[in-house]
């Protein structure tokens, strides 16, 4: 709420710079505006992207050469755990919910979310959850003087988390942090679904919603039913650790495999929770830079919802090596491969959108095109891993690490960068530099491929994941060195990106309302939009309301 001010300022000291600074801070901390909360989420995610990136770099330096002693095994395990937890819960989820927060109300012509205060609660719960997790570096040792940050892996398999094997408080910080972040995330997901169901502007039928809104709503609905099993599992783990329960205590008849089921019932749909917003960004950006409406809108919606449902039935493909029955193996292999069908539909629809279009290679488009190629490869290695005998050979090897980093970096992170370049002008009123953006794109793509294409090979040569070092005679050394070399390129690319943001905030080109000549409602308001979004509530007649505005002679609604 930009109009709010501290009572101090009212005393006539409004010109004092320090007070004005305080007033700005007060405005951001107490805000319930969906746009400000969206920006807070994204900035928070980018800060932790840097932190998680440093953790990954430490691991890559350790693995660059055989028999390395850059860090101890204990520190390596902590870096591994914190990197995974950070990237999923403190980077992926906040950035995507941030974009959903910022864009969904604008795109459906609403003035705010359905529950603005719950929205603020969701952000701050996530923010403090992250601080709780990182406080473990200081407070994790506990009375036993054991450990600091959690070192049980982001999957925290039992019995590693049992009191006997994880002394001190590090696992408790991990559990509580994820529980708290889960509460915030569930609140925000609830908010996004309710906003979309209840606050669409007149004429915005479900069949006219921008694909981004459809996908964000699917992602939020999935979050409601997949984040909660994780919270339930964390409650059970806390009961085991603090009240002496036996859920995952094998000596008392409990089952360590049950934790794996509960974790992956969350864990696998979670990767779709992360990638569906990536699809959302691509589905908005590709049409604008191809100067065509999206190809196959109804098929895209159906494929999205289909992926949402299918993804709930694939979790045990993470557990083929646990020793399930062959019926279970077959079921989960089939469902996993079935996800490839709606995903393939999407790939073809995006290609259909590009086909015959008047393509503009602006930076957001570059990132989306990079996504198309890389996500396809990531999906193909996914299909490979879905076949059980293949998975028995390569599960828990670096091939798997390469596969999911291909999805999450080659797929998701690329689209996030594309989305930042695309919507930064809307959020700040200034364009990001195209020249620096191209440097960012190309360096990042080169670094990405150096690291993650190469990483498949040591995996196939038998290098297991989660090891802190390896013998020189295994033949993995040169590949690991190349992987680490790629990190340098990615690091420089990220630095260029941060420099681009800082520089453009100060003296970027003024964007105007609609710098990309786009068609969805957020481009009709000023950049940045006013607190109330729309002075007059919009009315829409087609999927591309701004096209109708700009082309009154040939509006879309004539063809619906």
């Amino acid at each position: 709420m930009s109009s709010e001010s501290l009572p101090l300022a009212a005393a006539g000291a409004g010109t004092d710079r320090r007070l004005r600074w305080l007033e700005t801070l007060h405005g951001w901390v107490t805000t319930v505006d969906h746009k400000r909360l969206g920006i807070l989420y994204v900035v928070y995610g980018i800060v932790f992207l840097a932190v998680g990136g440093v953790e990954a770099t430490i691991m890559r330096i350790q693995l660059a050469v055989p028999n390395n002693h850059f860090v101890t095994p204990q520190v390596f395990n902590r870096m591994m755990t914190m990197h995974g937890t950070t990237m999923v819960f403190l980077v992926g989820v906040p950035i995507l919910f941030g974009f959903a927060n910022y864009l969904v109300p604008l795109m459906i012509g609403a003035r705010d979310m359905a529950f603005p205060r719950l929205n603020a609660f969701g952000f701050w719960a996530t923010a403090f959850g992250g601080l709780l997790l990182y406080f473990s570096f200081l407070g994790g040792e506990g009375l036993y003087g054991a450990g600091s940050a959690p070192d049980v892996g982001w999957f925290a398999y039992a019995p590693l988390t049992a009191r006997a094997f994880s002394r001190g408080h590090s696992t408790d910080y991990w559990t509580l942090a994820i529980f708290v972040m889960g509460l915030g995330t569930i609140g925000t997901a609830l908010n996004i679904v309710t906003t979309t169901v209840c606050l669409r502007c007149p004429g915005m039928k479900l069949t006219r919603m921008p694909l981004l809104v459809w996908m964000m709503v699917t992602m939020s609905a999935m979050t409601l039913v997949v984040m909660t099993p994780l919270s339930a599992a964390q409650i059970m783990l806390s009961i085991d650790r603090y009240l002496g329960g036996h859920f995952f205590d094998t000596q008392a008849g409990g089952s360590a495999v049950l934790w794996q089921h509960f974790f992956w019932i969350f864990g696998h749909p979670e990767v779709y929770v992360l990638i569906i917003p990536g699809f959302a960004f691509v589905s908005e950006i590709l049409p604008v830079f191809s100067r065509k409406a999206i190809f196959g809108y109804p098929a895209m919606v159906a494929a999205t919802v289909g992926i949402g449902f299918l993804s709930m039935g694939v979790w045990a493909h993470h557990m083929f090596t646990v020793g399930m029955s062959s019926h279970a193996n077959t079921f989960f292999a089939l469902t996993t491969m079935a996800v490839g069908i709606p995903t393939g539909i999407k790939i073809f629809n995006w290609l259909g959108t590009l086909w015959g279009g008047k393509i503009r290679f602006a930076v957001p488009m570059l990132f989306c095109l990079g996504f198309l190629f890389q996500f396809l490869i990531a999906g193909l290695t996914g299909i490979m891993l879905a076949s059980v005998p293949f998975d028995w050979q390569l599960s828990d090897s670096y091939f798997v690490v390469a596969h999911f980093h291909y999805v999450l970096i080659g797929g998701l992170v690329m689209t996030i960068f594309g989305a930042i370049y695309y919507w930064f002008p809307k959020a700040t009123g200034r364009m990001l530099s195209e020249r620096l953006g191209r440097w960012h794109f190309w360096l990042f793509v080169i670094g990405f491929h150096l690291t993650f294409d190469t990483m498949h090979i040591p995996g196939m040569l038998g290098m297991p994941r989660r090891i802190y070092t390896y013998e020189a005679d295994r033949g993995w050394g040169v590949f690991n060195l190349i992987c680490t070399l790629g990190v340098v390129f990615q690091g420089v690319a990220i630095l260029i990106f941060l420099w681009n943001v800082a520089r453009s905030l100060a003296k970027g080109k003024i964007a105007g309302n609609d710098p990309w000549d786009a068609w969805t409602l957020e481009w009709v308001v000023t950049s940045p939009p006013p607190a109330y979004n729309f002075a007059k509530v919009p009315v829409v007649q087609s999927r591309r309301p701004l096209w109708d505005f700009k082309h009154p002679d040939d509006p879309d609604w004539k063809y619906e």
Binding site: I186, N191, C198, G244, H246, A252, G253, G254, D548
Partner: protein
Amino acid sequence: MSVRADAWPRPPETWRLPSRGPVGMACLILAEAAIFTIFVVAYLFYLGKSATGPQPKDVLEFPLLMSLCLFSSSATITFAVDALRKGKLGAFRAWWAATIALAVAFLAGTGLEWRHLIVDKGLTIRTNLFGTTYYSLVGLHAFHVIVGTLFFLVVLGLALAGRVAREHAERTHVLALYWHFVDAVWVVVLTVVYVIGR
């Protein structure tokens, strides 16, 4: 290219969307249902796997009276919301207070049951797998009853202060939806713990 943001076309004749309270509550119920599902699955999975006693059939008795209390509270809260919709504030307060009394009776029943199990039967959350899963599942449900009761008390306080009027009927309706869900969960817990599990 910019367009004028005030020259929207004429809105459609009929444009009605659901109100946000019930939709938000439906989402919450969906999320909560997933949490309870995990606890119910854990309970069923660990049935009969306790390494030591006591076993469910040795100690559990079907909690008929307290279940009746909880189920009837779903009726009384419906009467309360109906009364408020019609603007009958006295009837609303009476039915609302009755709901709270029934909820408290249910909680008292749980308390007595747990006292019996802990003191007389020696079953705690750390005794065996049955104890762990039983107290977790029933406790999670009881926690939801407590949260609901606290909200009811807030509304009762506001009602006694004369701050609840007819226009708040929809808000009490949203609370009632939550309460029906807590009731429905008890049907599942009752079946799983006291019928199948025994």
